[in-house]
Amino acid sequence: MKKESNSRGIVMFAHNNEEIDYFRLAVVNALLIQKNMGIKNITVVTDPHSLSQGEKTLGKRLIKKAINNIVVIQKDKEFKQKNIRLYKDTSHTTKHLPFYNANRCDAYDISPYDETIVIDVDYLILSDTLNHCWGHNNELMMNWKFQDIMYERKDPSLSRLYDMGITMYWATVVYFRKTEYVESFFNIVKHVRSNPQYYKDLYKWQGTLYRNDFSFSIAAHVMSGFVDKGIPQLPTTLYKSFDTDDIHSAVDENTIVMYLEKPRSPGDFMLTKWQGVDLHVMNKWAINRVSEELLEYAKS
C-alpha cells in the first residue's frame, strides 16, 4: 500500500478458527468504523484461509468496500495448536478452541500509517470517540481502566496480571505513533511473545494461555522504567461486556440491545440498550448472529 504523508488509520487482526469467523467480524467493524468515525484507512491482517472463507460468504466487492488494505500472512501452526482458549456463548455453551493472536506484536511493522489505532475485531465502533486520539501529544496510549456495562458486576481478577502483580493494560485498543520509543515498546512485546515461559515466571500471570493483554502490560511496565501505570490511558473509557452476555438485536449503526447475565444468577439475563459508545463484545457468536443486521445498517 502506498504510504500517505501524516496518514492515520485503523489496524485489526482477523484469524478464523473452526467456529468463529473473525474475518466477518472485521468486515462488520470496518464498515462501522467508516460510518461512525469517517475513517477509510483500514488494514486487516489475516491468513489465506480466513480471507477465502470471507470471500466465499461475503463476496469480494463487500470486502473491498469495507477494507482498503488486506495483509495476508501465514499462521504459525505450532502456536495455533498450543494456544487454546475457553470460549463462551453465554454460560450455556462453552468450547475450547484455538486462539490465534501471535502477530499483534507486529502491528508496528505492519501498519502503513504514521498514526495507528489497533483494535480487536470485537471492539464495536459505535461512535466517533476514538477520533480524539489523532494528533495527540502522547505517542502511545492504552487503557488499564475498564468498565463492565453491567455496572453491578465486579471482577477484580481483571485488574492485575495476578493478585500482587502489575496492573493489566488492555490490548483491545492501542493508539500509537511511529516513533523510536514506540518501536522499542513493540520490540519488548515481541520479546515477551517469543519467550512466554520466562516472562510468565517473572510476572506470574495465571493460566497457560498467551494473551496480548499480558505482553502489552509487561512492555508498558518495562518501558515506563518499571513503574506501574506509566503509559497514559486513551481519552476514552473501555466499556466491555462478557462472553456470558448475548446480543438481543442491533437497532441501528450505533445502537445494540444486550442481554447481560445477572451477577448472582448465572444463566439469567437483564436487557440494556447500548447507544453511541464503543463496546467490547466478548461473545463472538453473538456478534456473528447480528452481523447481517449490522452490515445492512453500516452499508446504508
Binding site: S127, T129, N131, H132, C133, G135, H136, N137, N138, Q147, I149, M150, Y151, E152, P232, P235, T236, T237, Y239, H248, S249, V251, V257, L260, K262, M270, L271, T272, K273, W274, Q275, G276, V277
Partner: protein, 119 residues
C-alpha cells in the same frame, strides 16, 4: 407465587434495568463531553467553562491549560470557549431529553424503547 410478590419482583427487575440504563446514558454523556485540541484532551465541565470565561474577561488571548493528562496545551481562548460552550449546551440538552424520557418509562420495554413483545 402471590400476585403481590410477582409485582414486587417485576418492579425490582424494572429498577435494575432502569439503573443500568441511566448509567449508560451517563457514560455516553461523559464521552461526548470530551474535547480534543492541539494534541491535548479536556473534559468539558463547569470549572473549565467558568475559568475560560474568566480568562476572556481578563482580555487573555492565548493561554496554556492543563489537559486531563496534566500536559500543558496552548489554546486560543475565545475560539476554545465558544467550542466547549456550544458542545456543553448540545450534550446536556440531549442528556436532559433522554433522562426525562427514561424517568417517565415505567416498564422494562419502555425503558429500552422496545415494543411489548421485545421487538
Amino acid at each position: 407465587m402471590s400476585t403481590r410478590l410477582t409485582k414486587a419482583l417485576e418492579f425490582a427487575n424494572y429498577r435494575v434495568t432502569l439503573n443500568n440504563q441511566q448509567a449508560q446514558l451517563k457514560a455516553k454523556t461523559q464521552s461526548l463531553l470530551s474535547y480534543s485540541i492541539n494534541g491535548g484532551t479536556f473534559t468539558i465541565d463547569l470549572t473549565l467553562i467558568t475559568f475560560c470565561k474568566q480568562l476572556i474577561n481578563e482580555d487573555q488571548n492565548e493561554v496554556v491549560l492543563l489537559d486531563i493528562y496534566n500536559n500543558p496545551i496552548k489554546i486560543e481562548v475565545d475560539t476554545f470557549y465558544d467550542e466547549i460552550l456550544s458542545r456543553y449546551y448540545e450534550v446536556t440538552n440531549d442528556y436532559y431529553a433522554e433522562y426525562e424520557k427514561l424517568r417517565k418509562s415505567r416498564k422494562v420495554h419502555k425503558v429500552l424503547d422496545l415494543n411489548e413483545k421485545g421487538k
